[in-house]
Symmetry: C2
Subunit: 410 residues, 2 copies
């Protein structure tokens, strides 16, 4: 199949998927969960091949991300079973209005259509994303990393087999080459949303090469502002957690802003250095740097306004936190910092779909439209308006013979 | 000011605007409404200049759209006063979750940032769009049609004067040349949403020339499917209304699909012809045509499936209606037709922000992401996540010392 045929087939299969009942879609997800456990041997054997090919070529970190274990498969299966039990997201009524006597309007949630998800080495993304697409009634095309080709093929084969007989396997397509991705990115008439999960460079490349809306983020330049009134133990704990818990994550802190009147700045620096963090401070620092490792920028700021101005100027609108004991300051920061996630006395690392209780996460969006911050199933839905009348026409309204009531129902 | 300076100033002024209280923003809108009535003479004099310049150059239809009257100004002012009374759209809490003991998350509505609205000859769009931007806390840059240059300048001058002293006049910018629009469309780091209101060609040109998300629609190819069981009087009334009430509107019907077993097809054709509508039927018809005048395509279809397949293939996903007395058929049509608006026994002409009770309309979106169908104030908002903790870090959760509760609040 050409990429276009694949996308068109995914769209058609998506229509079949959304026509299933909630119970049927739930059973389908449970079959996907079961196959990950029942056919673990197949998946692990394929993963073994990828790992052998990667040996001596990939970094230790990449090898670790590539590695699939029985434990990982079981926790993936658990996650998918949780997803199978969540309230039906499709067809949820968001609003009901009586427009006029006998003429009633409702706005309902509805699948987006076809998603293109491009992810790098971590193959456990494949079953996660596939389950989210199934839950939300969307067709899906996946492109995984070439390092994980065998694992992805095995996972894809098992998952699409589990769709039968309810939904054709084309509901979830897999492509393996960059050329195919290039072709898919041109299909803005068939594909509705692209979700790139990978390096900043990869995300930016995709944003620059498609007219399809892209959900995701290129940069994660997150700040912690330590206010004058911050409790020193709390400031230290949050700053250390935000930087060191997982420095490569997009929600890790890259810059700590310290109020000029905060009395424990040196102790805070010592704590960071003690945790192995290199500090960059002074006139030559590029505050747009996403270190992604045990390093961060430090800046002394005059006051809250200066901290907010710094964040708006150098941040990426991802996640920014204030540590303060002053409720007025906290409120002002929460109100005024215009980022997807704004935190008071909490680590930036909480910015995550699972931690936010969204069930699962397709990614974190720094886009301002459609979905913002951690995105779960809801970000894969759109809405439709359904109007039910009795033969109503607009002419009598224009003529003044009938009047709109615009009464909210329920 | 350069276009970039103008956009940056609009963003900063937007921050001032959203910092106002609900009462202050309400008063500001009422001042805008009042100036349209109190300074009507200034506006009408400017409009007179535009009309004089257009005489013999513009079509009668364009001249009518350009013409501002006292009545129009009064009804604009009324609409803005209604908007000033609506519930505060900014900062509305959409969701509140306790993530863990003492750690609470909320999702709130928030202004998008800066809007760029490009509209053609109708100058009454200017006060409407300006009020929607004020209500939703967004900065705005407007580009009006050159035919209405004097009217737009007068309206813009009065409205920005009414912002003082609460908000700097840069909150609402006006540009007059195409070159400036070209510059603005490149500013995807400062402008958050482009809303083109005008011809299909204009909308498509903009979509092709910017990376900023575009809210709107190029085509409005709307269908009415007359099912076998449709009551003939109802079918006739809806089809006539959908086609003839305002043939140039995007929600006007372009194609009527007639079930092969509908017994009154000829009478329906006669009724359309009687209303002055030219019918195009047969193998050579291009079903992708948006006539925009008293003309439409006609096609006989085998059944509901064929009607839906036709709509998905040739439609623009705007508004499609079924006329049927069969509730099963109606339900299937409403469920399966994947358009922004899907109607049963009602004219496609109801697809409109005012008729839907949204208060006002910035446009109708056929995009599947962000906002779909008629878009009111809500489409000009995004969301933010606010998390309030007590010094919380993720490490104890990873270590199993603390557990997420994920309890929905309220």
């Amino acid at each position: 199949m050409t990429p276009r045929e694949q996308a068109v087939a995914a769209r058609a299969a998506g229509h079949r998927l959304r026509a299933l009942s909630t119970a049927q879609r739930g059973r389908l997800l449970r079959r996907v969960a079961s196959t990950l456990e029942a056919d673990a041997a197949t998946i692990l054997a394929a993963n073994e091949q990828d790992l052998r090919r990667g040996e001596g070529v990939l970094s230790d970190a990449l090898m670790a991300r590539l590695h699939i274990t029985i434990d990982k498969l079981e926790s993936l299966a658990d996650g998918i079973r949780t997803l199978s039990e969540m309230d039906e997201p499709i067809g949820r009524v968001l609003r009901r209005t009586e427009l006029a006597e006998g003429l009633s309007l409702r706005e309902i949630t509805s699948p987006l259509g076809v998603l293109l998800v491009i992810f790098e080495s971590r193959p456990d993304a494949l079953p996660q994303v596939a389950s989210l697409a199934l839950r939300s009634g969307n067709g899906l095309i996946l492109k995984g990393g070439s390092e994980a080709a065998e694992t992805n093929r095995a996972l894809h084969g098992l998952i699409t087999a589990a769709l039968r007989p309810d939904v054709p396997p084309e509901a979830i397509g897999l492509v393996e080459t960059r050329a195919e991705v290039g072709d898919l990115l041109a299909l803005d008439d068939v594909i509705d949303l692209v979700i790139p999960r990978g390096s900043n460079a990869m995300v930016r490349h995709i944003q620059d090469n498609t007219r399809i809306p892209v959900l995701g983020h290129a940069d994660g330049i997150c700040h912690v502002f330590v206010d004058a009134s911050a409790e020193p133990e709390m400031a230290e704990a949050i700053v250390i957690d935000a930087k060191t818990d997982y420095p490569a994550a997009c929600n890790a802190m890259e810059t700590v802003l310290i109020h000029q009147s905060y009395p424990h700045g040196d102790a805070l620096r010592d704590a960071l250095r003690g945790a192995g963090v290199s500090l960059f401070e002074g006139p030559d620092v590029d505050f747009g740097t996403e270190y992604g490792e045990l390093a961060c920028s430090v800046r002394i700021v005059d006051d809250l306004d200066a901290a907010i101005a710094h964040i708006h100027r150098h941040g990426s609108g991802h996640t920014d936190a204030i540590v303060t004991a002053d409720p007025v300051c906290a409120e002002a920061f929460l109100d005024r910092v215009d980022s997807a996630c704004v935190f008071h006395n909490a680590s930036t690392r909480f910015a995550d779909g699972y931690r936010f209780g969204l069930g699962a996460e397709v990614g974190i969006s720094t886009s301002r439209i459609h979905a913002r911050g951690p995105v779960g199933v809801e970000g894969l839905l759109t809405t439709r308006w359904q109007l039910v009348g009795q033969g109503d026409t607009v002419a009598p309204f224009s003529a003044g013979a009938r009047r709109f009531t615009h009464r909210a129902l329920e």
